[in-house]
């Protein structure tokens, strides 16, 4: 049994390290040791699920996940519906599943996306909560709730149209006191599908020749809006998401296969492109939206 220690803070910054190590452990029985875990964001949660499914497919049985049952993280994971989503994906060790409370301050619990109707249900479900959080917490104008719903719709359709496999989405806001001094909305979407390279390969690999790889595929989709469909109207989703995220001063990154591409902001400078990462399957999208300056003062 390999033990894969989870960091104290499992978030969009540290989840990549866990993916790297999961690739090394593929095919073995693994214990994901999260007993030191003290903070997890939606990117970290989906990363855990992705690692669980990836390792389970490699070894034939879901990896084990150990958590501190008395920690705030444990209660928080329960509120985010993590344990429901983890059924069949992770064998969560030795703790009774806490009951969820009634009203929740969660923006969007972990939600599986497998069909068109899941996207409809998601957008219906999130309207009221998103409206309150976007306007009161982030200080965005009332119309932002519609734009946020469009982002959600487009980003989830990316799973349905390109991944060829089900995925998950989750979102929450946090106070980033030290880094930014403002609230930040963290939206995560992930799947273990064929990834951008796999999606585009048949249609576009030839023209890139020996340069073809995860990085060129990501560039082609993220920067140039290429898709595998010959239809001129395809490929707008991710372009429009980028445009809206930029308007809100946010950050977006997409990891797929060995590469990660990002649009940064002055408050969070991610590398525009990273290549040579461990070949973790699927596509993993992170969107960070900061509160408007002066919001909540």
């Amino acid at each position: 049994m390999r033990v894969l220690d989870l960091p104290q803070s499992l978030d969009y910054r540290s989840v990549g390290e866990v993916m790297e190590r999961a690739v090394e452990c593929r095919g073995e029985k693994v214990l994901l040791d999260g007993r030191r875990l003290r903070f997890v964001d939606p990117v970290g949660m989906l990363g855990l699920l992705g690692n669980g499914r990836y390792l389970g497919e490699g070894s034939g049985a879901p990896p084990r996940l150990a958590l501190d049952p008395d920690s705030d993280v444990h209660r928080y994971l329960a509120r985010m519906n993590f344990f429901e989503a983890a059924e069949g994906v992770l064998a969560v060790e030795g703790v009774a599943r806490p009951r969820r409370g009634g009203a929740s301050d969660v923006l969007l619990e972990i939600t599986p996306i497998a069909e068109n109707r899941d996207v409809h249900a998601l957008v219906e479900h999130i309207q009221d909560r998103a409206g309150t959080i976007l306007s009161r917490t982030l200080g965005y104008p009332p119309s932002a709730v519609i734009q946020f719903a469009v982002i959600l719709s487009e980003v989830c359709q990316n799973i349905l149209e390109h991944a060829g496999a089900p995925g998950w989405v989750a979102a929450q806001t946090y106070q980033w006191s030290r880094r930014l001094g403002r609230q930040v909305l963290v939206l995560a979407v992930g799947d273990l599908g064929r990834g951008f390279r796999g999606s585009l390969e048949g249609e576009h690999a030839g023209r890139f020749g020996s340069r073809w790889g995860d990085a060129t595929a990501l560039e082609a989709a993220f920067i140039h809006g290429l898709t595998r469909f010959p239809d001129q109207g395809r490929g707008q989703g991710i372009q429009q998401i980028r445009k809206q995220v930029r308007r809100w001063g946010g950050v977006i990154s997409v990891r797929s296969g060995r590469a990660r591409i990002a649009d940064s902001a002055d408050w969070e400078a991610l590398p525009p492109m990273e290549d040579g990462l461990a070949p973790f399957p699927g596509a993993w999208i992170t969107i960070l939206l900061p509160a408007a300056e002066g919001a909540g003062e």
């Binding site: 068109n116 996207v119 409809h120 719903a149 469009v150 487009e154 707008q236 989703g237």
Partner: protein, 201 residues
């Protein structure tokens, strides 16, 4: 249905499409947002099926006023591909015109984006009843379209004397994009909003 001007009768059919109602009828009664490509495709095909049943020139009034969320995939299907199909005569052959109604501020980005992408025009009545020609039109096209829109109808006899060669090119493009209607018998030009007004029961 047909509408009458003081001078003569325009042979034109019209039908109204409430997109939200069509959405619930053709896709699922639980859906209230115009999102995802399969949903948009189903709505577009339902509109095209209605158009396919009509023979003469037809004005379709596509109403977005009860739609709150419109994403880019649906705008691509319900606006761009519908207009493209009408312009190219595929899948429905015939002289069809579309006036989009009830467009709200938050619908504009997706609609503008898809029009830009396909180099299409759309005549749009936004909430508050401002009428616009959306899409990448040349200044001469915008000017001529606005002139017809202001007057509602320009008789053919008035047109001949006032169009310079640039205007004639603009007119050709506006007619091709179905942003204006020309009476096939008299040659008069009509704004789509004027047709809608004449045809309104």
């Amino acid at each position: 249905m047909s509408g009458e001007t003081p001078e003569h009768e325009i042979q034109l059919d019209a039908f109204a499409v409430d997109v939200r109602e069509l959405l619930s009828r053709t896709v699922a009664s639980l859906y209230s947002h115009l999102i995802t490509r399969p949903t948009g495709r189903a709505v577009r095909m339902a509109i095209e099926a209605q158009l396919g049943e009509l023979e003469g020139p037809t004005l379709s009034l596509v109403d977005f006023s009860s739609v709150s969320v419109l994403d880019y995939s649906c705008a691509d299907e319900v606006v761009a591909k519908l207009l493209l199909g009408i312009r190219e005569g595929d899948p429905v052959e015939g002289e069809f015109f579309v006036l989009f109604r009830g467009l709200r501020a938050f619908h504009r980005d997706p609609v503008m984006e898809v029009l830009e992408r396909y180099d299409l025009h759309a005549v749009v009545e936004s909430e508050g009843s401002a009428v616009e020609l959306l899409g990448p039109a040349a200044p001469a096209e915008r000017a001529l379209w606005a002139r017809v829109e202001d007057q509602g109808r320009i008789p053919a006899s008035d047109l001949e004397d006032t169009l310079d060669p640039e205007d004639r090119d603009a007119l050709h493009r506006l007619l091709r994009s179905r942003s204006l209607f020309r009476d096939p018998y008299r040659g008069d030009l009509y704004a789509l909003t004027e047709l809608a007004r004449l045809l309104d029961p």
